[in-house]
């Protein structure tokens, strides 16, 4: 008994010694990572500590322990605010439209581009399709408003020219068009970029599959349906789950830049609500409550999506 204890003690000492030695051996690895871990802690984790504000009557300039705690009061105010439900509706509507369009359109684009047999054309179209991804939303929103404008906007010119309308449509001034415009702008900007991963997945499909299908007399349309599409299914699922996780985090830049006071009933999303009714008015605690609501819903959606897909497809990203 005693010898065994001694033995393990020795082993323990030895292990501790070697762990210490390893620590010393790896000191440069620690030097090269610890500063950045601290960095991430300060800039990414400390804001999470700021969530406590939502449960306080936060006043700037006084210490954390001197703040008055109010429990869930700000959340109650939030859920009683009728405006909140309008904002939530807008956020969900634009997020879901963006989600559906943002994964269906790039898949279709990738499938079609893959069928282009002239290599130089394929490369050209692909390079062009990335272009809008690299411009800022400021520029993209400017371009979209320009194209849709009532004086000299190309869309109105076409509609007038084809006699579909007899007066220019005020696209940017009609609330019920706003969700569509935002989704369209998103498609215009990101389709080419989002297709990159699908194209990479398509190129990973073995050519022997296509050859076998051709021998069996399958048309290219059938090859697309029975080989290419199933071949990129795992990629589609992973990206879909990830975008569901980012559903409410899709941002507010588009809405901020494309919106105006005429369409605000349709353009205001959760982050803008937090900005306008929290930050701009100095109601930090209320604004934080909105941010928390947003983050919690996002995480729940991510886990729910992952769970559902896991059950049906045995694939998971976490």
């Amino acid at each position: 008994m005693k010898t065994i204890t001694l033995g393990t003690e020795n082993a323990y000492k030895k292990r501790r010694k070697s762990a210490w030695k390893q620590l010393k051996n790896q000191k440069y690895l620690y030097y090269m990572s610890i500063p950045f871990v601290l960095w991430v802690f300060v800039f990414q984790y400390l804001p999470l500590w700021g969530w406590t504000m939502a449960f306080q009557k936060y006043k700037p300039g006084i210490g954390f322990f001197d703040q008055k705690w109010v429990g869930f009061e700000h959340f109650r105010t939030l859920f009683r605010d009728e405006h909140f439900y309008q904002v939530l509706r807008n956020t969900l509507a634009m997020s879901f439209m963006g989600l559906i369009a943002g994964f269906i359109v790039p898949v279709i684009f990738a499938l079609l581009l893959n069928e282009v047999r002239v290599q130089s054309m394929k490369r050209f179209v692909q390079t062009v399709s990335y272009l809008p991804h690299f411009v800022s939303w400021v520029v993209a929103a400017g371009i979209v408003s320009k194209m849709l404008s009532t004086d000299g906007g190309v869309i109105n010119d076409i509609l007038l020219g084809l006699n579909i309308v007899d007066q220019p449509v005020q696209f940017m001034a009609q609330g019920h068009l706003f969700w569509g415009i935002v989704t369209g702008a998103d498609i215009w900007k990101e389709t080419g970029w989002n297709a990159i991963i699908y194209l990479a997945a398509i190129s990973g499909i073995g050519p022997e599959l296509y050859e076998a299908a051709r021998v069996d007399g399958a048309s290219r349309l059938r090859q697309m349906w029975h080989i290419t599409l199933p071949g990129i299914r795992p990629t589609i699922i992973v990206l879909l789950i990830m975008s569901i996780g980012h559903l409410l985090g899709t941002g507010f830049e588009k809405q901020f830049l494309l919106g105006n006071h005429l369409v605000i009933d349709y353009s205001e999303v959760l982050d803008l609500y937090a900005l306008n009714y929290g930050l701009a008015m100095g109601r930090y605690s209320f604004g934080t409550a909105i941010n928390i609501f947003n983050s919690v819903i996002s995480l729940m959606l991510l886990f729910a999506a992952n769970g559902v897909f896991k059950r049906f497809t045995n694939e998971s990203i976490m």
């Binding site: 090269m32 504000m53 282009v116 996780g245």
Partner: protein, 312 residues
């Protein structure tokens, strides 16, 4: 992509010599028509903006400019270079792009190097610690309060420091380093190099493709961001960026004076409603630097995107 296609090229050639089925011909038409539509939809707006920016501003009001200027002039461009706020904005934008990209590359590659080392004790912890930030963020207001408490409002540092470490970029570089033979590091170690030397002398030079990808992401992100300026430095004229200035100018007509989103700048806006062609000229100035760079980095970022998506 290329390899797969050249493998089956012969087969396809044979096939195309044979009569195509009606299905295939139908598909072919759909494919080529949609590719042309995509190309036109993407390029036309940019050509239109370019044409207007090169057209006489009075003539532009008549409308009808498509992809070619009617009365060619460079006046719009020479005019915008007399705007003081744009010159400052240009300087700040260039500065933040250069500094932010270099700082981000160094921090990202260092972290990636340590995370690619299987023998590193803290590897799992650091990895998890980073991955969490990809899904959870404190949000707008806690972030704003933190910047205020750190006294970073109205400083240039607010453009660089908060985004210095990006989990996505770290994972892109790490998966590239994972693909390099570990024997390189071992032999350098036998030659007496310490881990920092291995990183700096051995790994970094080999990582150029991954670094090019991340550099592009960082540079584009820095050059294009405007909201941090709006939030933190909007009132400080010596620190506003080009994108922010463009935003102010573009919003001056798309929104009227009663826009509730930003009433503070109302008076300023009213006084500087610029003609269409000047707006388009600024748009071109803001857009062109990136459009020149990205096609050359295409093969890198396509690979980088794929690696990053697989790993994360």
């Amino acid at each position: 992509m290329g390899v797969v296609n050249s493998n089956t090229q012969v087969g396809r050639l044979k096939q195309s010599l044979q009569a195509k089925s009606a299905h295939d011909r139908f598909l072919e038409i759909i494919v080529y028509v949609s590719m042309i539509v995509v190309t036109v939809l993407t390029i036309y707006p940019f050509l239109n903006v370019l044409a207007i920016s090169l057209n006489d501003s009075v003539d532009t009001v008549r409308g009808g400019i498509t992809v070619w200027p009617r009365q060619f002039t460079l006046e719009n461009f020479s005019l915008i270079f007399t705007y003081g706020s744009l010159i400052t904005g240009f300087k700040i934008s260039v500065l933040r792009t250069v500094i932010g990209t270099i700082a981000g590359l160094i921090s990202g590659s260092m972290l990636a190097f340590t995370l690619a080392r299987n023998d590193f004790q803290a590897r799992r912890f650091v990895s998890m610690f980073l991955a969490v930030t990809m899904y959870v963020s404190g949000g707008l207001i806690p972030g704003f309060i933190l910047m205020r408490d750190l006294h970073m409002i109205d400083t240039f540092a607010v453009y660089i420091l908060p985004g210095l470490v990006s989990a996505f970029n770290v994972f892109v570089i790490r998966s590239f380093i994972d693909g390099l033979p570990f024997a390189l590091q071992e032999s350098a170690k036998l030659d007496g190099a310490n881990d920092f030397t291995i990183y700096w002398r051995v790994i970094l030079p080999l990582c150029k493709p991954a670094l090019a990808t991340v550099a592009l992401f960082l540079a584009v992100g820095q050059w294009n961001s405007w909201f941090d300026t709006y939030l933190f430095n909007g009132s400080n004229e010596s620190l506003t960026t080009l994108q922010y200035e463009l935003m102010k100018i573009l919003q001056s007509t798309t929104t009227s004076a009663t826009n509730s989103q930003d009433t503070a700048n109302m008076a300023e806006r009213m006084s500087q409603v610029s003609p269409e062609s000047v707006k388009m000229a600024i748009t071109i100035v803001v857009t062109v630097p990136i459009l020149i760079v990205y096609p050359f980095l295409q093969k890198y970022f396509v690979k980088g995107m794929t690696l990053g998506a697989v790993k994360s």
